[in-house]
């Protein structure tokens, strides 16, 4: 990987972008891949004009933030897993579990907040099981998460027999209406900011975050440094599960209802957002700030490409090409030192 092995402490300190970085690493801003993706994002905003005459507009930015919220939450979980050198393919099933359980508990008379918390906790447990199996049995993460994801999907299908769709609690659905505002800004955007803050904090300001970097760089070295690799792995997958579950709850509210397919479209974009955001797919480096920029960039591109009126084939080609350009950009940024 171009960024090489990063010292977890330094990487965590250089955090999201130059603004929050301490003075010491400011001269290295050109090496900061996350910053490059943010610049790319800011460049793409006015370039949206090419796609539609009504862009850029306030409604464009509002839409990017609202639709980007789901990807930002899911990619946070995926990003943590990728950081430890794994990859999580149970995203779709976990998102579905979060949405399904919230909806069905609420329908059964449980208060919405309790239903959402129970659902998210169930997803945490599923994530922790992923981590436990990966750590204890030493199987590759992608195959374990694929297996657990498949089992979970089948269990949901069996349990949901005949009624896979769930309604959303009214209050949850109301959060996503654009007229639901706080200080004049749609609540969904506040949610985005809250998620961004929590994600940055967990990945860059907690011991767990530091240990995740350490495990991703070298399991052996982490062990030598007395990091409990097993505990870190289980916690990281558990937190990732929490994020997917939360995304499920949010998607249930956004669509004011969800069926079991709700998580399906998010698996590959979540990996793409992490990698476009400058993380190494083999683990050990990457920032949540970069992932956030990646998630917003992919969402913006989705909207722009949709606005061009190109046929579906061309849309996918453009989408793929822009991801490659973003990857090239962040790689060049990593090399220039």
């Amino acid at each position: 990987m171009t960024s090489g092995i990063t010292d977890p402490a330094v990487d965590a300190a250089s955090s999201t972008d130059a603004r929050s970085a301490p003075a010491g690493s400011r001269r290295d801003w050109r090496r900061n891949q996350a910053l490059i993706v943010w610049v790319l994002l800011l460049l793409c905003l006015p370039l949206s004009r090419l796609a539609s005459e009504s862009f850029p507009s306030v409604s464009l930015i509002v839409n990017v933030l609202i639709l980007g919220l789901f990807l930002a939450v899911i990619a946070f979980g995926q990003g943590l897993v990728v950081l430890t050198g794994g990859i999580d393919l149970s995203v779709a099933s976990s998102v579905a579990l979060g949405a399904y359980l919230t909806g069905s508990l609420w329908t059964a008379g449980v208060p919405a907040v309790v239903a959402a918390i129970v659902a998210v906790m169930a997803c945490t447990v599923v994530g922790a099981i992923n981590g436990l199996i990966i750590n204890r049995l030493g199987f590759p993460a992608f195959i374990v998460t694929l297996a657990i994801g498949t089992i979970l999907a089948s269990v949901l299908l069996g349990v949901a027999r005949g009624a896979p769709a769930q309604r959303s609690p009214e209050g949850l659905a109301a959060l996503f209406r654009q007229e639901t505002t706080f200080l004049g800004i749609p609540v969904a955007i506040w949610l985005f900011l809250a998620v961004a803050g929590a994600g940055l904090f967990i990945q860059h300001a907690t011991t767990l975050g530091l240990r995740a970097y350490a495990v991703g760089n070298s399991v052996a070295a982490a062990r030598n440094a007395r990091v409990d690799v097993g505990r870190v792995t289980v916690t990281v997958y558990g937190i990732a599960g929490t994020a997917y579950g939360l995304a499920g709850v949010l998607l249930l509210g956004y669509s004011s209802g969800a069926d079991l397919n709700v998580g399906e479209p998010w698996l590959l974009p979540s990996i793409a957002a992490v990698v476009v955001g400058g993380a190494a797919i083999r683990g050990g480096s990457g920032t949540y700030g970069g992932t956030l920029a990646g998630a917003l960039l992919l969402t913006l591109l989705g909207i722009d490409i949709s606005a061009t009126g190109l046929t579906e084939g061309y849309k996918q080609i453009v989408y793929g090409a822009v991801i490659l350009i973003a990857l090239l950009g962040s790689r060049l940024a990593g090399r220039r030192n």
Partner: protein, 412 residues
């Protein structure tokens, strides 16, 4: 590590023992003919309702003693469906009712099955292999006027009229690359092209999924806030929700989602038509009729009539049945697909049958299926070619809209 190994060995031993015990049990199905229901991905309301309706027909008291029915989920992978069908043929199936994933890829397998005496009935989507039966709405005509054919063309015509022939519209398509999406889109586009005042400003794929349709519609609305109407395939519930989030109330045509009908009944301008899950129940009835009374007088191409519900006719059902012309269930989930009933072909259906597969009662043998045979001039859409004595050409005079491509009689 040793501890784990012994645990694993223990688990393996338990599984092996369980398998032995299970296989040692006597076969409770002995003496009953085998029926298989093969569906695509399950997990959305449409597929589950369709499967339940088919099962509730096969498990009805009239048939349960004679047949045993198994459900198989083939997912979205055509290879998996081929291998599932082959297993069913090997297991000596008498009848396979299936949701086909491809019109042509299953042909060799289906032909092989037909040669071994298996009856195949495809629902919703169609297969081209001539020995199989198709029960499909794709080319079907409106339930209120048998001359008005094609979901795509009819809803497009309806939208154009609501817009008085002019305005900017979106088209929310289905799953890219499927034959069904293609027929809907092409027949709709052919209609829109006749209205010079109508321009399609955005086209996107909602993948017959409410959540995807909602996100795609939200994206298109960001670029074209001045849109005047939306033509949608399945996923219209998401379309309406995206419009509501943006504070717009414009005409929408779509399929049979519960929430969409509810909004229509509250005055939202639009038309609800499209794919009825009842098709699967009808397909099972057709298959059972062939098993019981032979294939005589059962047409190979059966058209499911197109439901047609408008702002004026949308009406909530007070209970669990379609009574008094009601057409949606206000207490069911938003994406529940309302068309679980067909007055001629599946009158015994109920909400319980669609939701749990509860066996239907009072099923009488189907008669007069011939009334629902697909006319020869629409054959090319479902079988890929015209019948002998017919050739491809523009069809005029027998259906609305006139002039769509189809089959015309050879005049030699």
């Amino acid at each position: 590590m040793t501890r784990w190994r012994s645990v694993t060995t223990g688990i393996a031993a338990v599984i092996a023992a369980a398998t032995l015990v299970l296989s040692a049990c006597a076969d409770p199905d002995a003496g009953r003919d085998k029926i298989f229901l093969d569906l695509s991905y399950s997990g959305n309301n449409w597929q589950d309702e369709a499967a339940n309706l088919a099962l509730s027909v096969a498990n009805s008291p009239e048939y349960a003693g004679k047949y045993v029915v198994r459900k198989q989920i083939s997912g979205t992978d055509i290879q998996k469906q081929i291998s599932d069908l082959q297993s069913m043929i090997a297991a000596k199936a008498k009848l396979v009712v299936l949701y086909p994933l491809s019109p042509s890829a299953l042909s060799p397998t289906i032909r092989q099955g037909c040669e071994r005496g298996v009856t195949f009935v495809a629902y919703d989507s169609t297969v081209r292999e001539p020995c199989a039966y198709n029960v499909a709405f794709i080319t079907g005509a409106r339930v209120d006027d048998p001359r008005d054919a094609f979901f795509g063309a009819q809803t497009a015509e309806g939208l154009a009229q609501m817009l008085h022939g002019k305005g900017k519209i979106f088209m929310n398509r289905g799953v890219p690359g499927t034959a069904t999406d293609q027929v809907h889109y092409e027949t709709a586009k052919a209609v829109f092209d006749r209205y010079p005042g109508i321009s399609v400003v955005a086209e996107y794929y909602g993948k017959w999924d409410s959540a995807v349709s909602q996100q795609e519609t939200a994206k298109a609305l960001a670029a074209h806030p001045d849109v005047d109407g939306i033509w949608s395939q399945d996923g219209e519930v998401g379309v309406v929700k995206a419009l509501q989030a943006a504070g717009k109330k414009i005409p929408v045509t779509g399929e049979n989602g519960n929430y969409f009908r509810k909004m229509l009944s509250q005055g939202w301008p639009g038309i609800s038509s499209g794919s009825p899950p009842a098709q699967a129940g009808v397909a099972m009835r057709i298959g059972l009729r062939i098993l019981e009374h032979g294939p005589d007088s059962v047409p190979h191409n059966i058209e499911m009539p197109l439901p047609w519900v408008t702002t004026a006719t949308a009406k909530p059902c007070p209970g669990n049945e379609f009574v008094g012309g009601c057409n949606f269930f206000p207490n069911e989930s938003d994406t529940f697909v309302t068309e679980i009933f067909q007055k001629d072909l599946l009158p015994q259906s109920s909400l319980a049958a669609a939701k749990t597969g509860q066996p239907m009662t009072g099923l009488k043998p189907l008669d007069a299926v011939t009334a629902f045979a697909q006319p020869e001039w629409r054959r090319v859409y479902t079988r890929g070619k015209c019948d002998s004595g017919w050739r491809e050409g523009d069809v005029t005079g027998v259906q609305n809209p006139s002039g769509l491509p189809g089959c015309v009689q050879d005049r030699q």
